[in-house]
Point group: C2
Chain length 250, copies 2
Amino acid sequence: MSRIYVVGFGPGKEEYMCRKARQVLEEADCIVGYTTYVRLIRDYFPEKEYLETPMRREVDRCRTAVEEAKKGRTIALISSGDAGIYGMAGILYEVAQEMGADVQIEVIPGITAATMAAAVLGAPLTHDFCVISLSDLLTPRELILKRIRLAAEGDFVLCIYNPRSRTRTDVFDEALAILREIKRGDTPVGIVRNAGRDGQEAVLTTLAECSGEQVDMFCTVIVGNSKTYVKEGKMLTPRGYVIREEDRMK
Amino acid sequence: MSRIYVVGFGPGKEEYMCRKARQVLEEADCIVGYTTYVRLIRDYFPEKEYLETPMRREVDRCRTAVEEAKKGRTIALISSGDAGIYGMAGILYEVAQEMGADVQIEVIPGITAATMAAAVLGAPLTHDFCVISLSDLLTPRELILKRIRLAAEGDFVLCIYNPRSRTRTDVFDEALAILREIKRGDTPVGIVRNAGRDGQEAVLTTLAECSGEQVDMFCTVIVGNSKTYVKEGKMLTPRGYVIREEDRMK
């Protein structure tokens, strides 16, 4: 039976990869992925065969994986973070079904940017949150901004993926403008660049102070809810445990 | 320097734990955690010293961790999934700050139930999504249901944690009622019980067919967006890649 593993290898550093992902990558006959991702893991598995495809050729990449699997080879199709969150899992299923290929697909989950960035910043995601990508390549910008507005109205913590790219420089500022209409200006905002990779950097700012100049395609941005605060350099969203405990003590 | 690692050990099975988590657990002088979580990992680290505390004693658990760390010991405070998502990271920071303890805290991220359940179901989280806990112990029920409504209005995929407990049996049905007002009855719903643990089970149903009887405290529930469909037993939320590629071919 032909088999493709869709592997989320986590943020990038090998220490954040789960054992199952490592095992699958070690056992695969061929690793298929976007060039940048191949570069991130090649040092950890130097002996493997790699098939690299450029950015935005996601469908081609999946077809390559399916064609290779049909030869009876075990294929690992890689995504950074988790393969199911804006990753390759969905499109692989679609392509395999479209090709009518008798291929067994298994998704190996990974640590996604939201949780990695949160771990770097402190504990901003301890309450209900939304994950929203600002990439408007495949999603109408109006829908993205509508979701930003509803997330703010629901007082969700927001976790923003792909806040800016080289060519898309304005959606983040549009999102900030909407958030500022609804949320307090002193709402903490955490920006993590290269979360869980070499060159990791974190910045804490506020909704009022934040600007599109501070982010790029390597950033994950977390915007707090109405209870989120910064103390001793950590961004924290309380769940109310301490207050509860103090109530008990009375 | 006293040091506490807050470790998300993932869904439960050792193969989904990241290497850093395993390393920290191996090196810790003492592992502190809720009894059920200790049971999940004890077999993997049988030689360690454990301090167990019962459910709902989160503040006590953190105080224990801080007191032990102040003795100069390295402590691992464990959560299942990711320690920052409804986990112990936030409350530990709060308790350590309240105690004025000079303790270094580091959060080690893990694979959270959302991504594990998604991997089991197919690829339902490939578009913007909300994570909402239905536990009303520390969150007013009105706020939870307001968030459910806004998430539906934004056509987010919903990932529901803690859909039901032994004593809280009605919030899930209330949430379903709201979702049915806004979303189509044939919207796919995936329920994963014991995701990434022994006894893992998955059920695919629809918003119209789903009921509170199908879920318990071990379940994670994913409700699709307007584009989500089920094909060949997999729940998929398309991002639009295939259509895009076909456009190119013309």
